[in-house]
Amino acid sequence: MTAVDDRPQAASTHEVGRDRRRKEDQRLITGRTKWTDNLVLPGMLHLAMVRSPLAHARITGIDATAAREAPGVIAVLTGEDVKDLQGSLPCAWPITEDQKAPPHPAIAVDRVAFSGEVVAVVAARSSAAARDAAELVDVDYEDLPAALELRASAQDETLAHPDLGTNRSATWVFDSAEAGTGSDVEDAIAEADVVVEREFRQQRLIPAFMEPRSTVVDPTGEQFVMWSATQVPHILRLMLAMTLGVDEGKIRVIAPDVGGGFGGKLQVTPEEIITFLVARHTGKPCKWTETRSESLLSAHHGRDQWQKLTLAAKADGTVTGLKVELLADMGAYLGLVTPGVPILGAFMYNSIYKFPAYHFSCTNVFTNKTWTDAYRGAGRPEATFAIERIMDELALELGRDPMEVREQNWITHEEFPFTTVCGLEYDSGNYEAATERAKELFGYDELRAEQQRRRESGDRVQLGLGISTFTEMCGLAPSRVLGSLNYGAGGWEHASVRMLPTGKVEVITGSSAHGQGHETAWSQIVADQLGVPFEDVEVLHGDTQISHKGLDTYGSRSLVVGGQAVINAAKKVIEKAKPLAAYQLEANVDDLEFSDGKFTVKGAGADQEGVGLAGLALAVFAAHDLPDGMEPSLDADATFDPVNFSFPHGTHLCAMEVDTETGATTMRSYVCVDDIGNVVNPLIVEGQVHGGLVQGIAQALWEEAVYDDQGTLVSGSFVDYTLPTTADTITFVTDRTTSPATSNDLGVKGVGEAGCIASTPAVVNAVLDAIRQFGVKDIVMPCTPERVWRAIQDGTAGAMSETAGAAAGHFAEGEPNQDPPGTGAAPAAGTTQEGGQA
């Protein structure tokens, strides 16, 4: 719409862009499919984990006698039994050379470091027998002091791992002056007319995927076969081999249908290692499936940071520098990419704004809590939240409209491609267009007028408008960039296209769908590339013996990296078929053209029959009559390594109503206009955007993992961890503008995380905008009614206007129980206070 895509069209597009219903949904919705927990194998044993109820303790003894003697129990293994076999769970992203980390055992051996850590496993003939017996395992603990609060832990007040000598794992720094990508931020701050310094809290969240984790391992046969509810079967296979010292070729990992992950299944889990070990120990297939409580308690958590930002600007509102100092809570251990999660945000705090100077530092800190790792957006939601919050604070400081201040500072559409102060090259975008459309759909000016009316009339229900003009980097990732960040793997993706003799097509992808609809989208892409019907494309994935190579699904990478690999493989198929087509048409290879599934001879007229790809596939299968020297195969593989990230952006606007008497918030309107480049399937995109919005809104308003002062997770059920449902949300208004990405043939950008990254600050900015007149400066997320109410109370200790005389009779002087005049008076609006630091 807003930018011209002048690259040649590779093939006619009949399917790409259609809102196809997802072909996988019939089996997913009807349940006529395979989830890991559905698997039943002959002689299968069931596992139950014994978990520590303490946050930090020495294990002084384990008596498993009663458990071993319980009915149906086959084996009980403790940390002592497996300590020489289990290795240490992998961390693939050591962010610095001198990063400190404790060993990460699957089963704790002599010490537990968080409540929920596995201390023993029971294998029994039924799941019920295993659980009953797990309760009979008698573990003696000697309490150790637990490091719980992030800031105190950063000061080493209590050590999460006494042997490490510190809780600080690593400090990672990016400085634009040192990197040569910008100037010095300290100079910018020293010379600034306006300096805004704020500290924000990213509360701890729980990914809360729909399907609980489940793992089955079959040790019978030549290979160990592991089925697991994972996002990363390929990475899991490699890590199992490296952790357990088993030949990679002897391990097959299958991710059957997987019910959501949101990063929560981007992990190599203790339970996967344990299931493998028990299966090997007993020689029987073993299954472990978690309960929801186990999932909330022990599957990795997300976010959990303190963010300190210092923004320098000129008096006219032009930003001149940004300094970001983070403390990130690792929890008790480093998981697969734990230390890198905050670093994924390092290049995004500058967002869409033209900061000439930038400094980022992050200190990763251990505590005795469940470890954190990737959660939808991983690092970028934190960055977007902080920058979008502080841009509002800057506007407030300047007394200007927050949108106007953003517009003054953002990269204009003529400036693309734009190299940022972090050295990233944003390939395309148009912030003006997305914002204009969003304001139009939202009725921005009208709502501002209503807000003013409500303020003036002292309405009990106040209205606030929140803005988030976000961008993010996704499509993880160029391998060279990952290498420079010390990540342990590349960021390429693999695909194969197989032409079957019947003319049908099998597509094998290294992307590993867990609800995203890849089977549909990949079919659309291949249908266009090869000119075959959508229905004729079968997409296979998630089994390392079928899809032998891949880097799986996370970081909004599937379409922009995996989809491009599919295109490249399809193009190779066409190239391989060309000599045969030329042979059959008795034409020169160079004179052929391919479209709609058919080779024709250039200039031979529209009425020529040509030869179809299906016919060529059959001819290759028979191989009776091929050109001399031609290999009888049209199948092709491709591995694609992206040259750049993908940078979706958008403008999200939110209107919140706040009941100033109760603190209850109601979402009045939510409009988002995202620019995710071209779209393969608008229906799937819509689903991703809606789901992402709700997850981001949930961080703003509802969700938080809460630990008590003993390190017990008290929000360990869906009664206390308030995951929203459709009943809690409103109808969103969504639209798109289009600036095609230049980094892939389709011109697409990742969309899997966009909604979740963008929405949180829009909501919090709106809540604050509604009640700033009470002196409220911040509310720590989630903005529950209690916190909002307290923020209002703390801000003014009363209403913004005088109580009317007639209604205030009981406050009159001389009435009983009145404080002397003055002591109970409300401070003026704007008084500094710790608004809502509940």
């Binding site: 109820p53 303490l54 309760e135 009979l136 603990y141 309490d143 008590d708 003993q710 390190g711 017990t712």
Partner: protein, 149 residues
């Protein structure tokens, strides 16, 4: 979860008699609902207590002892540590007991610092105060029964 519980009750018996009963660990234990004292000396006891906290039923097995005991001032400090069976976490308590004469009877003041971990802390925190009030009510009733013939 750490919490402070505070209870007072009065019994229709003189402080000396009340003190004698309240420091007899075997008798006191028998009065606590769900508790069984398995052994007791002058200063220490072992036993178990079964409680239901909302949806969670838990048996704590443990021991306790007098940390302080002033027979003149009728003040005692008792510490107890219990291990929850079935892997349900630990509980520890420090109880400060102070008796004062009140009319012809005795007023007892009981301050308890309680630490609980694991599932009972997760699911029981909302009901802890109510449950402890109820248990204490039953406890006092039992003590009174023993003091008033």
């Amino acid at each position: 979860m750490a919490m402070e519980l505070h209870h007072t009750f009065t019994v229709d018996a003189p402080p000396e008699a009340t003190w004698a009963l309240l420091t007899d660990l075997e008798q006191v234990g028998g009065c606590f609902p769900g508790a069984t004292v398995t052994s007791a000396t002058e200063t220490e006891f072992t036993g178990n207590v079964k409680v239901k906290l909302g949806p969670i039923g838990v048996t704590y097995q443990g021991e306790g002892r007098f940390v302080e005991r002033d027979d003149e001032a009728h003040r005692a400090v008792i510490e107890g540590l219990g291990k929850g069976l079935r892997g349900l976490g630990n509980a520890s308590a420090k109880v400060v007991l102070q008796l004062e004469p009140e009319g012809s009877g005795t007023k007892a003041d009981v301050a308890t610092s309680l630490n609980i971990t694991g599932k009972p802390a997760q699911f029981g925190r909302g009901v802890m105060q109510t449950v402890s009030d109820k248990l204490l009510g039953q406890f006092v009733e039992c003590i009174e029964g023993k003091l008033t013939p």
